[in-house]
């Protein structure tokens, strides 16, 4: 009974929300826009240094968003490792001797690394790019970890922190160098745009993979090291 009493208002709220949303989507769909952004984008695409318009938006026209978004990712990584208490990363539970996993690893990991490389390389003129490549790279890292392969660089230490911040730092350096040359923050010199974007994408791939992997690794908790808390009063 009590459950129904809590469900009813929630249902009502959600129904009202969906109908309001659907109504305004319909209203918006039948009007016309005043700004033709895709057209504008097409006109400026050749100045961006890459052919894939999505990459152009992400890493040139709206690169500030992307810079901050990597910042968000790094924050999540920092916050994740700051609450983690896994000093020993080789969770014994994870050292599986699962033959299936082992076979999977042997075949899949090289394939995934290859895929990540391809995605990164393709990003400038075809679908693909740093995020996808980074995710695939992270996924192969997860597989390796599930297979119990030790990855020392993931210990909470300077290497981990360097890895977390590398992509972000390079991106930031590029952004500020352009400002030092008298341009705006984040403005690439047109002739260098392509090179810079490729460089940024490469380090971003590594960093994205690193952050995601670090978050995956810091999620498990074991009883290894508890004492500090409680006593902190």
């Amino acid at each position: 009974m009590k459950r129904i009493l809590t469900l009813l208002p929630a249902t009502a709220v959600c129904l009202a929300f969906v109908s309001g949303l659907a109504y305004s989507i319909w209203q918006i769909a039948i009007t016309t826009t005043s700004v033709d952004l895709p057209g504008l984008l097409g006109e400026n695409l050749d100045q961006s240094g890459v052919e894939n318009p999505v990459t152009a938006v992400l890493l040139n026209f709206r690169s500030y968003d992307t810079l901050l978004e990597i910042g968000v990712l790094v924050i999540a990584g920092i916050a994740g490792i700051s609450v983690a208490r896994t000093s020993s990363l080789e969770d014994p539970e994870l050292r599986t001797s699962d033959t299936l996993l082992y076979a999977l690893q042997r075949w899949l990991i090289p394939l995934m690394l290859l895929l990540a490389g391809y995605l990164l390389w393709a990003g400038s003129d075809r679908p693909g790019g740093a995020f996808q490549a980074g995710a695939v790279l992270a996924a192969s890292g997860v597989l390796m970890r599930l297979g119990g392969i030790p990855m020392d660089f993931l210990r909470p230490g300077i290497m981990l922190r360097l890895g977390l911040s590398l992509g972000f730092a390079v991106f930031l350096l590029v952004a500020v160098t352009s400002a030092l040359h008298g341009g705006e923050f984040l403005a690439y010199p047109p002739e260098l745009a392509k090179t810079l974007i490729v460089v940024i994408e490469t380090v971003l791939t590594l960093s994205i993979a690193m952050v995601l992997l670090a978050l995956f690794v810091s999620a498990p908790v074991n009883n290894a090291e508890e004492p500090e808390e409680g006593g902190s009063g």
Binding site: T31, V72, V176
Partner: protein, 489 residues
């Protein structure tokens, strides 16, 4: 010159986040001092530039508005940038001595602190709806990380609660952005405003505005959606609480206010405006009442934030369809309230931290006798309280006075009840803390003495908040500055 300042303003916090991530706590502290110095100087210089020449648009990457992201650097924005520099500098300096350097997780305080600062600057300067979304996420996630720092069970619960509320709020906001983009094909706030001005065919986007305001109000902890705030602000370390209460909740409110002032006239409605004002009024009473009933000192201060945030929402009814003069007064009142609350609340949390450190307990009753030992921190706490009560000549008084005038000018006399009642309630909870600290019964005489520098920082903030009432005129004249080439004031 301006280009350098802008680059410095955007670059420093992000770069310092990386630097401090690589350093440990102690080295991070020294690095942070340098960063704070740069950031304060840059903010001051930018403020001076805008005061001299008026505001400007700053296209990032050299791409103009609909295609790229433009920042909007006007009087209100630089005022808040400067306020952030002040409060964050104070909290950062305080944290450097307050946090225990030997707890290994405190090293992560610095990078999160700098990311938070970066996110706040993004929000103050933002003029692109999606960019503002990313800025909001930057703020929320680093704030959640700061609350969770240390990873104790209670802190984690507060952080999770905060995270869930923040995520829901961001999604509501993003959904509004999606609808706006569908309607106007642009993400630039001023672009949308001018498109609405030309042919007010904003059908369907009224709902988008409602969604965004809901999401932002949730993140600002407006009354019925405030329940995540007290645990998070209460459990965090005091310098973190100061940052969260003084600045973080203001970030989302600021976006809501910008949206309302730009798009409220065509898309808002009387009912929406009055509803927001009403919720704000209820927040003032509920927050004040709850602050009076809390046992823990920092919970008192946290609930007081719920109440003080309530006042800000009077902006909505007082600027909807009112005369230009009244609307301007309401905006000025909002600005002063943001500034004075930020200063006073930061002072309060920092001095509350000192008091708790000194008596070794976070309960209000444990303060008995502390008035002999820590008069300085207690005095800062009280001074900040005077500003929250809205007594002259504080900034809080100036803000409430302007709200009062705007209410009278628009004939919405019912907000007077909120303004007077809220003041009385805040007087009551501040005096309750005072009374507890003057109780003489205690046989405890081993108070711990925090370092003098920990006590001076909140005192400076409290004095600034007190003096704001006297400097209100110049502050307000800067806030009204719009763009150099625009119509201006």
């Amino acid at each position: 010159m301006t280009l350098w300042l802008m680059a410095g303003l955007l670059f420093t916090p992000l770069a310092w986040a990386v630097l401090t991530l690589l350093a440990g706590f102690r080295r991070g502290r020294v690095v942070t001092w340098l960063g704070i110095a740069i950031q304060v100087l840059v903010s001051l210089a930018l403020w001076a530039v805008v005061v001299r020449d008026g505001g400007f648009q700053y296209p990032l990457g050299g791409w103009q508005a609909p295609l790229g992201i433009e920042l909007r650097v006007d009087g209100l924005a630089v005022t808040f940038v400067l306020l952030t520099a002040l409060v964050a500098a104070a909290s950062g300096l305080h944290a450097g001595f307050y946090l225990d350097p030997d707890k290994q997780w405190h090293r992560y305080f610095w990078p999160l602190f700098w990311f938070l600062w970066a996110g706040l600057n993004v929000v103050w300067l933002g003029n692109d709806l999606f960019n503002l979304y990313v800025g909001l996420e930057l703020i929320s996630l680093s704030a959640v990380g700061l609350v969770a720092l240390g990873g104790q069970s209670e802190a984690l619960r507060a952080a999770l609660r905060y995270l869930m509320a923040a995520l829901l709020g961001s999604l509501a906001y993003l959904l509004g952005v999606a609808l706006f983009y569908g309607e106007f094909g642009s993400l630039s706030l001023s672009g949308i405003a001018s498109a609405l001005g030309q042919d007010s065919s904003g059908d369907g986007t009224g709902f988008a505005l409602v969604l965004m305001l809901f999401g932002l109000a949730l993140k600002t902890a407006l009354f019925p959606m405030h329940r995540w705030l007290p645990p998070a602000h209460g459990i965090a370390r005091s310098p973190v609480s100061a940052l969260l209460s003084a600045l973080v909740v203001k970030g989302s409110f600021y976006i809501a206010a910008r949206l309302w002032l730009e798009l409220g006239a065509p898309l808002g409605s009387l009912a929406l405006a009055q509803l927001l004002g009403l919720l704000g009024g209820m927040a003032v009473f509920w927050g004040g009442w709850q602050a009076l009933r809390q046992r823990k000192l920092k919970q008192v201060v946290a609930y007081s934030s719920v109440a003080q945030i309530g006042y800000l929402f009077l902006l909505f009814p007082l600027t909807w369809n009112t005369t230009e003069a009244a609307a301007l007064q309401a905006q000025q009142a909002m600005t002063l309230q943001v500034i004075s609350h930020a200063l006073a609340k930061a002072a309060m949390f920092l001095s509350a931290g000192n008091l708790i450190m000194s008596v070794g307990s976070n309960r209000v009753n444990a303060l008995a006798g502390v008035s002999h030992f820590l008069p300085f921190s207690l005095f800062s706490f009280g001074l900040a309280g005077v500003s929250l009560m809205g007594l002259p000549p504080t900034g809080g008084f100036a803000a409430k006075w302007l709200f009062l005038q705007a209410s009278l000018a628009t004939g919405q006399w019912w907000w007077l009840v909120v303004l007077l009642g809220g003041g009385l309630l805040s007087a009551a909870y501040v005096f309750r803390v005072y009374r507890a600290s003057f109780v003489e019964d205690s046989n405890i005489d081993h108070f711990f003495h925090p370092a003098r520098r920990l006590e001076i920082i909140p005192m400076i903030l409290a004095l600034l908040s007190l003096g704001l009432g006297l400097m209100a005129e110049p502050v307000l004249s800067v806030m009204a500055l719009t763009f150099a080439n625009g119509e201006g004031t």
